[in-house]
Symmetry: C3
Subunit: 321 residues, 3 copies
């Protein structure tokens, strides 16, 4: 995505927001495939389509046959259908597809390739929207950048701290990677704060540094969450997984036992520059961040969620109108 495309989408989202642009997607159908549970993504897309006059068809893994993503597979195992056939068939019925394929399926080297999503994208003849993989969650990041823009007006050189926080479960890197890249594109000054061992994907980090630098901003990494929070104008909290132990969640859990102070609370917020608190829901209250900060007046967590619908409506209008 170029900066121009991003601005264009955010501008459209702003115009769409709070208005009913009418039945511009009348007769259009969006198919959503969920291989993991979803609340916000599911409801925000369906509400968005309906408000634009279109229709959403939702399928979960329970409704579906097991799917084979591997090319040239000899399909004598449990998979009843090839992704190729599902994608080509669905392309004959619907006008766009959304796929959530966020589960860990093996090593990080495997999961960073987003095999299932990319297989759908390759074989479908309609646009395919990423509804979250372990590697990216672009719709979340679009909503987040819209939220920041609404509050800070201009994002260039504004201080964003992307703060790792603790969580009892191993999480994907989708929101983190996507926010990092879009914030870099906006020219923000980004501090990526995480404990040793929770490095984000090398390639994503390097790309975001280049992108930020081209846009007049910067990306730096800190392993000290207190230092990282100082002076932040946006504190964006989220847990993510350890790519090194990606297929060994027990080992990750063991490492996280000593990281319980990677949590956002009022003392930490007091060291920021009156920062906005952001977190993509769901959030583990009083583990990732305390009730006091999540329910405080600098929290924007529900605006982030609400903006999912607005930014996705803009996206759907661009893709389908």
């Amino acid at each position: 995505m170029t900066r121009y495309e991003l601005d264009d989408l955010l501008d459209l989202a702003t115009r769409v927001k709070g208005k009913r642009p009418g039945q511009v997607l009348g007769g259009k159908t969006l198919g959503l495939l969920f291989f993991q549970p979803s609340l916000r993504t599911r409801v925000s897309f369906e509400v968005g389509m309906v408000q634009l006059g279109g229709h959403c068809i939702n399928l979960s893994s329970d409704d579906l046959y097991e799917l084979e993503p591997q090319e040239q597979a000899i399909m004598d195992g449990p998979a009843e259908e090839h992704v190729k056939d599902a994608a080509r068939t669905l392309s004959r019925y619907v006008d766009a597809l959304g796929i959530r394929a966020a589960a860990r399926t093996g090593t990080w080297e495997r999961d960073r390739q987003e095999l299932l999503l990319r297989s759908y994208a390759e074989h479908a003849s309609v646009p395919v929207i990423n509804l979250e993989t372990p590697f990216e969650h672009p719709c979340q990041a679009l909503a987040d950048v819209l939220t920041m823009r609404e509050n800070l007006v201009s994002l260039k050189h504004r201080k964003l701290t992307l703060q790792w926080c603790n969580h009892p479960e191993p999480k994907g890197l989708g929101p983190t990677h996507s926010v990092l890249q879009l914030a870099a594109l906006m020219g923000m000054d980004i501090t990526l704060a995480h404990p040793l061992g929770f490095e984000v994907d090398d390639e994503v980090l390097e790309r975001s540094k280049t992108t930020a630098s081209d846009a007049g901003g910067s990306v730096r990494v800190s392993n000290d969450h207190k230092e990282a929070a100082k002076g932040a104008e946006v504190l964006y909290a989220r847990s993510w997984g350890c790519t090194k132990y990606w297929d060994d969640p027990e080992r990750e859990a063991m490492v996280k036992r000593s990281l319980q102070d990677w949590r956002v609370d009022e003392p930490l917020m007091a060291t920021t520059n009156n920062a906005l608190l952001m977190h993509p829901l769901p959030v583990r209250r009083n583990v990732a961040a305390t009730d006091a900060v999540l329910d405080g007046d600098r929290s924007r967590i529900y605006d982030q969620a609400a903006n999912r619908a607005h930014v996705q409506k803009a996206l759907l209008m661009q893709l389908l109108k």
Copy 2:
């Protein structure tokens, strides 16, 4: 609910019934959350919204993260999201929410508090509709009162017997409590018939006695189902659980083994005053009531089900129009 509000809703339901009031809820969305299976509730609400020009988004527990209802919880267990956050997020997307949370989760003292439903109602900023808890099932009772009114015209002083019947599974008290309270509000003369040990909730019983008395009717309890049926103008059958052994279904099952004659059949119906037979579906045929009476010409079981859609359309129009 006051008598005036109830009459108003039933009058609107009567006017709506069989007519298409047009797209009065165009652009409105109702979110339904089912934590237990549903046939009538699900389909009647969705059909109702569609016929009024609106849209329904259905989520079941399989689609959702596990939810934490406890305030100030430290969320390091399996629950991925707090009810507070789900309710506040959904309130940004939809115009009303319906919740079915009918499972037994502990003691009667706990379940009578309807924690999950009340937590949604507290945190949501849109209307929340009770789609059944162990304690209440108001939409069912509204349809039932509408059905009685259609058949008996005026309900004051009409004899209603709420008849416990046998069932292989432990059931909630929702329909019983809600019918008892609404029938009391209509001034009916109610006989609540159940075996010893299957008392309804004390507070609900006392409240319904006061309500009935204020409305010119009465509530009495009988532990003899043959005596209770005599002279009834409406025989409303339904099983419900034993609140004393609420968290010990095996003990309840043992008690019920000797209660197999708590079943509605033709000899029992013959002792009534040509009573209408009512039962909120699903019904265990030939256990709760025989095929002969369920399929007989005094049975109104399908009218009750059909009236769910009509009365809920009236409710949605009052809440959302």
Copy 3:
């Protein structure tokens, strides 16, 4: 179905195809009940209803109570509701019902009776559409005949080979039976090719022979798939189950181990009369048929799938308009 009715439906499907006939089913609702997973059936019906201005309500077995199909059952087991009551209730809410009940539930003698589907059809007061049983899959066959007609113009005396192929799982006979019967009605010259032991239902075979003969065509059986493919103008591949070992899938699997060359590949296709390759999806790639033929220029597998939506729209217009 008579030949006249079939032609009429296919003609309507042809006119509907690629056109938006407008909101002819505005206000109509179709309820779909899936007791097994579905991709094409689910999405093609929902898209079809939406494009005609109507609405689809989808229920899967997870949403529903367990259902009792047996008349006069004493319902003290796990089934919470009788099919009779579900069918009668749903008939009060929706304008038509579709049922997928394709699982093996016992012997072939039992499953060929389509108990659950027929019980719904008996008790519902709205049209009931068969979305696949082990015995029939008429919507698939309608789409297939439409696809053949589009390619061959006239079907009388055209050579169709219905080719059994291998599959790791035991499959139903639905598509095979339904294609056999509709192709017979069109007067095609049909070769039914399968290994010994995989005979189709006697009654269906005899009826299709009579039908074909009345329509100027023929039906013959071959146990040699190479001989059967020679000169075919349409090669329709699909696996189906062994009715003799219907309730013993392990024995069926053992028999199939020696049948791995019952697979459609390029050498086999080369012996045909430049045949169209058809297969109702999902297909086991490189087991039932090779990638080369499925992705080749004579393959019509995606047209078959796409025609599901068109032919079903025609069906819905005939049933509901």
